[in-house]
């Protein structure tokens, strides 16, 4: 009895126990992410099932050509029962095959891959800019909690959250393109390899639009996580030791707030993916969002489903990575 207890005790205190707990967390968390993805796939698939009436008729419209009808319904797999169709679709997804677009007659996957070089730089640059604005602003507001500066900053973020991103984009066009004539109102279709300067100029206003809206939310979150750390005992101790305030902020506050802020950046990337759809439309950027919107107009189900599902996959994966990093970065977090 005694030895068993002793062994148990040793095992619990040893790092291999912690290791096992961590591994079981990683496995569980990854499994949940896959269940979420599966359910998301079910939801995306159901879009074709809930169509009132005949989806094929919806796509070809008034053009009543029996041959085209047959080809299209075969292409959508509508000649087979829903369950078999779903099985094939899921197997295709697992192989990275998103089906064939009905309006652009090309594989959906290729269409999406050609648009990523537009959308990804937009999102990454906006995310970076939003963080660069929000970090100093949020920390500054938190350190001056309750002052006019803090209240002003909070009000400013409220206004930022209320302004629609597409309207902010329109105002930027009005100011920088129509009035000042510094930048083009509508982006030209140049690629990064052809004309890097032109591609960069195309991105300036869209990135500014997306980043400012995003920064508004981020400032509030940075402010409250810094405030939370500032109220901890170890911060009081550090101040009590007579450390310079700048040292307290850098060594104690920021280091601890960083983990929460990392989570925020992860959440933010997901929101930016959605925001990009709107902003691409304002500035006529040929990204994923424009692809999805044009697919709605032509009732191109495989393309809409492919775009929606691939963005959902990115969001779920980003959340998974952030959750896993969270534990890796902060040894205090235990999973049991």
């Amino acid at each position: 009895m005694q030895t068993v207890r002793l062994v148990n005790w040793c095992f619990c205190r040893s790092s291999s126990y912690t290791f096992l707990v961590t591994v079981s967390f990683l496995v569980r968390r990854t499994l949940t992410a896959f269940i979420t993805l599966f359910l998301a796939a079910v939801m995306v698939f159901s879009a074709l099932l809930i169509v009132p009436g005949d989806p094929v008729q919806l796509i070809i419209g008034l053009n009543n050509d029996p041959v085209q009808y047959k080809v299209l319904s075969q292409q959508l797999g509508l000649d087979k029962p829903p369950l078999e169709r779903f099985g094939r679709w899921i197997l295709g997804l697992a192989r990275g095959d998103l089906g064939q677009s009905t309006s652009l007659s090309a594989p959906v996957k290729d269409l999406i891959l050609t648009r990523l070089p537009v959308t990804l730089p937009l999102i990454l640059a906006s995310s970076l800019l939003a963080v660069l604005i929000a970090l100093p602003a949020g920390i500054f507001a938190a350190r001056r909690k309750g002052t006019v500066f803090d209240l002003g900053m909070v009000l400013l973020t409220q206004i930022g959250l209320a302004i629609p991103s597409f309207w902010l984009g329109l105002i930027f066009i009005l100011v920088f393109a129509v009035t000042l004539r510094w930048l083009p109102a509508i982006s030209s279709s140049v690629t990064w390899t052809e004309n890097p300067v032109g591609a960069f100029r195309n991105l300036i206003l869209p990135v500014l639009t997306l980043a400012l809206g995003q920064a508004a939310g981020l400032v509030r979150m940075v402010r409250s996580s810094v405030l939370e750390v500032l109220s901890q005992d170890y911060v009081r101790t550090a101040r009590g030791k007579g450390l310079l305030e700048s040292v307290v902020i850098q060594k104690h506050v920021l280091k601890n707030a960083a983990i929460q802020i990392l989570t925020l950046i992860g959440i933010q990337l997901g929101q930016l993916l959605a925001g990009a759809i709107i902003v691409e439309s304002v500035f006529n950027l040929n990204g994923l969002g424009k692809l999805g919107l044009s697919a709605v107009k032509t009732s191109d189900f495989p393309l809409v489903q492919g775009v929606v599902f691939s963005i959902a996959v990115m969001i779920v994966l980003i959340n998974l990575i952030v959750d896993l990093l969270y534990g890796a970065l902060d040894p205090r977090i235990r999973y049991d």
Partner: protein, 278 residues
């Protein structure tokens, strides 16, 4: 917190509440006026008065079809309020149902509902709108459905957390011991505790819905022409941005003020219900 700081925060949340309530009241008033009377019929075209700058006859100017911007903004307020009511209705209704089932019964049911909510949150509103409007054709109804569905997870998680926090308290146990039925315990003893956070969330969701409807209509996934909607007005205005800046400015300012008002109202209500959480 020092006395001064506490005073400052109390005054701030009081101001939020008053400003938010005023904006909300004004919005509802405009929505009702927009339904019964507008200076001009909102869809009436007047080709003698295209893209007119603000004047006495047209206080907010006219658009490219010579339609009066003020009249269209009043009718647009009705659209926004309708979208707000229906989508918050969908979100809070299903959220309350799923959240209380998950929280009250727990176990496998809780797991299943939680996974479905996770999957729903993987789709931002715009993505849901893309799916739904491909299936049903874009309309103000498909937009409401998308906005409503994407707000379900937040309402459901709030309800679930609220139910979990009170379901094992003694007064619930004693009600159960008295033989009160599950549905009555849930409805009479548990859910009233969730009412305040849900009301606050409802206020925020109303603002989100108005913002989302404007964005979806701008993208062509919401209100269809010639129906008036703030987002659609901005889409039309973009084509004529070089000729008439007015048309770009007014609807945007109104959207921003409305959403700001609703957010501040939500903040104010939250502080009122939960003064500790400031």
């Amino acid at each position: 917190m020092t006395k001064n700081l506490e005073n400052l925060y109390a005054r701030k949340s009081e101001a939020n509440l008053v400003f938010g309530a005023l904006v909300f009241g004004f919005l509802i008033m405009c929505a009702i006026i927009g339904l019964i009377w507008t200076p001009y019929p909102p869809n009436a075209q007047d080709f003698a008065a295209q893209l007119v700058s603000p004047s006495l006859a047209h206080p907010f100017g006219t658009d490219n079809f010579g339609r009066d911007t003020l009249s269209r903004m009043l009718r647009g307020a009705s659209t926004s309020v309708l979208v707000g009511i229906i989508s918050v209705g969908i979100g809070s209704g299903f959220g309350l149902l799923l959240g209380s089932l998950a929280g009250f019964f727990g176990g496998l049911l809780d797991d299943i509902i939680s996974r479905i909510l996770d999957a729903t949150s993987a789709f931002p509103t715009v993505l849901l709108a893309l799916l739904i409007s491909t299936a049903f054709r874009p309309s103000v109804w498909s937009a409401m459905l998308a906005v409503g569905i994407s707000s379900i997870p937040t309402f459901a998680r709030l309800t679930r957390a609220g139910v979990l926090s009170v379901k094992n308290l003694e007064y619930v146990d004693s009600a159960r011991a008295l033989g009160v039925s599950n549905s009555r315990i849930l409805w009479r003893h548990i859910l009233p505790n969730v009412a305040a956070p849900l009301l606050v969330q409802g206020t925020f969701a109303f603002g989100v819905a108005i913002l989302a409807e404007a964005a979806l209509s701008y993208l062509g996934l919401g209100t269809q022409p010639p129906q008036a909607s703030w987002g659609r007005m901005l889409f039309d205005a973009q084509t004529f941005i070089y000729n008439s800046a007015w048309a770009t400015i007014f609807p945007g300012v109104i959207i921003a003020i409305t959403v700001l008002g609703l957010n501040l109202l939500g903040d104010g209500l939250r502080d009122r219900f939960d003064p500790q959480g400031r």
